[in-house]
Amino acid sequence: MAEPLQMAGSKIKVNRIGLQKTDYRGNLTTLCQGCGHNSISNQIIAACYEANILPEDVVKFSGIGCSSKSPSYFLSRSFGFNSLHGRMPSVATGALFGNKYLHGIGVSGDGDTTNIGMGQFKHVIRRNVPLVYIIENNGVYGLTKGQFSATAEVGLNLKYQGVNSYMPIDIPKEALIAGASFIARSFAGDPKQVKELLKAALSHRGIAILDIISPCVTFNNSDEAYHSYAWGREHEVAIHDLSYVPPSEEITVDYAEGEFKEVTLHDGSKILLKKLEREYDPTSRVDAMRVLEESDNSESLLTGLIYIDPDRPDLIEQHNLVDEPLNRLNESDLRPAADTIDMINNLMF
């Protein structure tokens, strides 16, 4: 799908809008070798390239943490805002009003989102801000050297920390209860799924929460740890096989009737979900909650598109903005005309 076109007389691969994959690159990563976050950055590059998104049409946001550094490592041609610890959602909310045609991609960590950022996380969801909100979830604070985050599992034993005894926070469940309109969980060790989910999320209108288990190879990657590569590889259970079909494309996959489910997004693109083991309807909140509770009990890493409501208006739509990007308006749009001043003074009595 989305096979990039060849440009006439050139051997360099380009996508529909004529860009090479290198046009989506960022700076060289300074994260640890093998860090899950790097693999996610690569999939963001691939997804934007394949989805033919102009880098200039993307704004990147992040908080603070190893994960939050990663927006420098993709899409150098996109604006970015590396904000404060836990505060990415508010910054993104304000910034996206600047130009309503932009795609927002936010990258956060589990600490950044579920510890210090819990309040903003919940409220950005409530407002249905049109943002692809990725949590690179490794169960620890990488950048401050390996303390527990709130997603650490009960019983996790870390070198300098001892044993965690607090209830872990489950990001997809939290998102579901808060009313998120797009919720997925994935695994940095499953790049293809990450990429397809990203493309779907970029087409979704409203908030898209992507909880991506992204191992911290330096501080939390022992084989028994829930957020490790080993555990993920062994326990990942995809609820479906997911692929994204861009707006203009025909569905070419050949699935038998009843074998797959199709969700149409607001921009006309489609998500195809091929049934794997279980019956699953990601447009049902009840199904979503059930499967999340079940996976808790069955000790598996459940991945895939957990919930989607493609129709809910997003925050910016609700505000009924003018067609032109707000940040291109000028004085004549913004300053009331001179003759209004008398009217106002009269109102003042």
């Binding site: 910054v91 909310t93 130009n99 903005l321 009331p336 003042m348």
Partner: protein, 598 residues
């Protein structure tokens, strides 16, 4: 009755909050204003919703001295809980009105006492719906007072008309009670006190407004596009003013919006959103008060260092901590100036009256975008929430100034060779781009972490100091944008009075009294922003003694002046006091007299 005292006294009305007395009080205030008499109204209210004592003080003064006074010539008491206090507060020779439902003894004989026939009059009002009875009952004191001191009934009607936005039913309901009360007073009230009002023409062309409304409207004329806010007294009504007036002033034929206002989940999010919007090229603001400002600290530091334009209104109330949420103060000054860990020097505007609230409302955006910096505007509860006479708002006399923003065609010309934090013009102010710019070289990555001229992350020592020194350069550059102090001179003056914000009227009155009562001539300087304008040190130098008056405990303005002008330390005397009430001329007068007349 002693000689008539005309247009020169204070009226205080004691009621229970939540009882709807605001309509009555505003009606009195507005009708006096419409009679052309200089007047002010101040609400002293508790931080709860219903049932506690609250006071409203109206001062009429033919010479335009309408600052608060501690003395009350006329006191109206509608609240049995505050009865003894209210009674005690009447000046000897003054007038005391109280509602007939209070059955307490009058223990003074040096004042004139009148009983208000509230029950009798209200009993007759069969057409007043039960749930409105208490509210409308307040009109009894409006009517009796009007008859007693001579308020024009026509103007009262106009005031009601304004208040109820022309809705005939409530206007009639209330006006009828007023008329009944006037009638009663005509027949039954034997006037024995000397206080009267008489029409003047001092208010011609003036308006009446509160500072928060003025700031809201000013911000709209400044082209505000994004506001993130969180409710807090006394900041809320600024945000709510914007919500109220945006649809009126920025209405478009297609019904679409050029702005968004979002009530955030808290103040961290409110300023975070505003900073996001500022980064994105919108004129962005937030409004808050002390506790909210404290929560904005980390973001304030980010905006300072990453150079994001954003306007933050702090309508000051009494702190530290929750403090007195419904009382006024000028206590956030030093905190705001240094807000954010590390080396920060924030730019502050200090409006002193409703017109400046309006003007700084629009001007703050020009300054913020020009300097690519947060701009704090420090108003206060007295200025923000009380009614002030003002000149009509003036349409901005300068075009909107968006500062140094590069768009596609600009980058084209530069061949894409630019850097977000380069000091191209040697004024400390770099160029910026905003998201949505389609030029492939337009993007940069904004961060609060150390960065170089191109916005790239670096921990290089020399780069860090270079960048931070450039920001300081900008701060000195800001002097050009800060409104000059308002200086009033008197020939032969030896002392200087320095003040800021809402104490303006008290200072003016005190200067008059100093001269007339003690033959002390003074110059005054009202500082309107930080960094201090050039005239500030000049003024200080030109007087041996400069008294710095401010409504806080620690002498915050004084301290900042010292920091800037250590060599002028000998010329400065700190006079700081804050008990939550607006400053009086008496305080200023007494403070100076003590020091000048030993």
């Amino acid at each position: 009755m002693s000689e008539k005292i005309v247009n020169d006294f204070s009226i205080t009305i004691g009621t229970v909050n939540g009882s709807g007395s605001q309509t009555a009080n505003n009606t009195i205030l507005r009708s006096l204003f419409k009679m052309g008499i200089p007047v002010s109204g101040k609400n002293i209210f508790p931080s709860n919703i219903q049932g506690l004592s609250t006071w409203y003080t109206i001062r009429v003064n033919k010479d335009g001295f309408t600052a608060r006074r501690d003395a009350h010539e006329i006191v109206i008491c509608m609240n049995s809980n505050s009865f003894s206090q209210d009674l005690a507060n009447v000046l000897p020779g003054g007038a005391f009105f109280y509602t007939d439902s209070i059955k307490l003894d009058i223990t003074r004989d040096d004042i004139e006492v009148y009983r208000l026939p509230v029950k009798d009059i209200m009993r007759e009002q069969k057409d007043v719906p039960k749930q409105l009875k208490d509210l409308v009952a307040n009109m009894v004191y409006v009517g009796v007072l009007a008859q007693s001191i001579g308020i024009d009934l026509e103007q009262i009607r106009t005031a009601l008309d304004y208040h109820f936005k022309g809705k005939q039913k409530p206007i009639d309901l209330n006006f009828k009670v007023i008329e009944k009360s006037v009638e009663w007073a005509k027949g039954n009230l034997e006037k024995t006190d000397p206080y009267f009002v008489k029409p003047m023409n001092k208010n011609d062309g003036l308006i009446m407004t509160d500072g928060n409304t003025a700031a809201a409207i000013g911000s709209i004329y400044g082209g505000v596009q994004f506001m993130g806010w969180y409710p807090i007294t006394p900041g809320s009504s600024l945000a709510e003013g914007i919500i109220e007036y945006l649809p009126i002033l920025r209405k478009r034929e297609d019904g679409k919006h050029t702005y968004a206002v979002i009530q955030a989940e808290d103040e961290l999010a409110a300023i975070g959103m505003a900073i996001g919007a500022g980064f994105s090229g919108l004129r962005a603001m937030t409004a808050t008060s002390g506790p909210g400002l404290s929560l904005m600290t980390e973001f304030a530091g980010l905006a300072y260092y990453a150079e994001v334009p954003v306007v933050i209104w702090d309508v000051q109330r009494v702190g530290p901590s929750t403090g007195l949420p419904t009382r006024t103060s000028q206590g956030d000054l030093t905190f705001t100036h240094y807000i954010g860990h590390g080396d920060t020097e924030q730019i502050i505007l200090l409006p002193g009256n409703a017109n400046e609230c309006f003007e700084f409302g629009w001007r703050a955006f020009d300054i913020a975008e020009n300097l690519q910096s947060p701009v704090f505007v420090l108003s206060d509860l007295d200025l923000g929430m009380n009614q002030w006479m003002a000149k009509p708002f003036e349409y901005p006399n300068e075009p909107m100034d968006r500062g140094k923003v590069l768009w596609e065609e600009d980058l084209e010309k530069l061949n894409g060779d630019w850097g977000r934090y380069r000091d191209v013009d040697n004024d400390g102010i770099p160029y910026r781009t905003v998201p949505g710019n389609k030029h492939p070289a337009s993007a940069y990555f904004l961060r609060g972490t150390g960065h170089d001229e191109n916005g790239n992350l670096t921990e290089d020592s020399a780069t860090w100091t270079r960048m931070l020194d450039r920001i300081k350069k900008k701060y000195y550059k800001a002097v050009e944008f800060i409104p000059a102090p308002i200086i009033e001179k008197k020939k032969g003056a030896k002392i200087g009075i320095i003040a800021m914000g809402s104490t303006e009227l008290a200072v003016r009155e005190a200067r008059h009294q100093l001269e007339t009562e003690a033959n002390i001539k003074s110059d005054s300087m009202r500082i309107r922003g930080i960094p201090f304008a050039e005239d500030v040190p000049k003024f200080i130098e030109s007087h041996e003694q400069n008294y710095v008056f401010e409504m806080n405990r620690d002498g915050q303005l004084y301290q900042l002046l010292l920091g800037e002008y250590p060599h002028l330390a000998d010329h400065l005397i700190s006079e700081a006091f804050n008990d939550g009430l607006p400053a009086t001329a008496q305080w200023i007068l007494d403070s100076i007299l003590i020091k000048e007349k030993i």
